[in-house]
Amino acid sequence: MVKRIDDAEPINLGTNPDGSQGSKKSIGGTWPEKAIAAAPGLNRIEPFLTPSVFKKRFLFGIPLYSPITKEKLEVKDLKDYIQRAANLFELETKVSVFPIVKRFRLPFDPNMYRQFIYLEIPEKPVQEVINLSITSASYQGTGEINENKRYPRGHEIYRVPNEWVDMSNASRGIINVNPLNPSFTAINTSSSIAASGAAIMQFIGQTGWVPAYWNIEMVIGLGSMEGNIPNVVNEAIGAQATILLMDNLIPQYRIVSQSLNIDGLGQSVSDQLYQLLQDKRDQAKEKFDKLTNKIKMITSSKFFSGNV
């Protein structure tokens, strides 16, 4: 029904199956980080890199054929280079280009718990939190709607109302639970949920460290639901795709000069293409390294910190 890695239940980001509030969105955009409005004039996000844009931006003046076999690179081949480059970008930066739904089991840490349930998500930026709950390790017989699916969720012991989930630092991968609201009725949380949750939370605060305690499902990624991604991410992916392409082309242009001499007559031909392609590759490599470093810095993927 929905294109997902697993065959778990379809995701409705608007409302949960039980009628409660759906996913909790971040307080601002993921790119530019935390932006809520901008003057028109500069496009910071754009559709994902297409073969024609890739050719214009990165391969201007580059012959896309093999001098040996005369095979030409077609649009579908360039598409393949872009796809591979995007995957390498994700691997390098640990940031998803397109939105992806992930589920993490995070430990219970009393120190973090006392800091408004400070949860550090292993991947960033978080766009929306679908569900934050305390779940059991068991799958079968739990009655959960996806218990027989490929990636089932454990039994939900207690779901933290999404109204309490604080998304202030979600883009940096930090989720807090902040139940500071005027009243439960004002935020439309049922009294039974609020009462049971409060009891569990009071009790668990006395416990030590518990592994895989919190269950959190969320939408992660730099790109929008529609497929728009930051312009600079396209730049990095394009640079990586150029590197992959140059790696194929450069060895085929290795013969840079030829000379032919017969008696007193001589002719020499030199081709600068080998050097040109080599320079292009070096430029692309430098650009990719710089951009991925910056993106890692902005999304806080460069360092990991925690308490032991």
Binding site: M1, V2, K3, R4, P10, I11, N12, L13, G14, G28, G29, T30, W31, P32, A35, I36, A38, P40, N43, R44, I45, E46, P47, F48, T50, P51, S52, V75, K76, K79, F98, P99, I100, V101, Q127, V219, G221, L222, G223, S224, M225, E226, G227, N228, I229, P230
Partner: protein, 136 residues
């Protein structure tokens, strides 16, 4: 052998149209999205080549699905055949309120009881214009 769909633009009749490698949909606009069914065959040199595919069943239908991470925005439509004389060409309407995701199109052909899924080879981008452009 791959089953492939390519989007068509400027469709006037069964002989007059452009096969496009990329197609940009501006959100908020309506379109009559036409596409053609192809099957990959080997030519006389043994190289794979695309040939248009005309469904052979007595009762043929084509379903188009636009996937989205959010089930609320998934779209499923039955395509129509604008030219009975060439049933490799099919069309579906794109409505202004449709929230399409990049390359989320899937095409399924039903020929009687036979089901064939097609890969959409055209890159379909969606774009907002002006102040409708949203942050990611």
């Amino acid at each position: 052998m791959r089953n492939v769909v390519k989007l068509l633009d400027n469709v006037n009749d069964i002989n007059t149209f452009d096969e496009v490698e990329e197609f940009t949909i501006i959100r908020g606009n309506s379109y009559n999205l036409c596409f053609r069914l192809f099957k990959e065959k080997k030519d006389c040199n043994g190289e794979p080549t695309l040939q248009r595919y005309i469904p052979i069943g007595t009762s043929n239908s084509v379903q188009v699905q636009f996937d989205n991470l959010d089930v609320e925005y998934c779209i499923k439509r039955t395509a129509t055949k604008p030219y009975p004389s060439d049933s490799s060409i099919w069309c579906i309407p794109i409505l202004p309120q449709d929230q399409l995701m990049f390359n989320g199109m899937r095409v399924t052909l039903y020929e009687d009881s036979k089901v064939t899924n097609f890969i959409v080879e055209t890159d379909i981008s969606t774009e907002d214009t002006g102040d409708r452009r949203r942050f990611t």
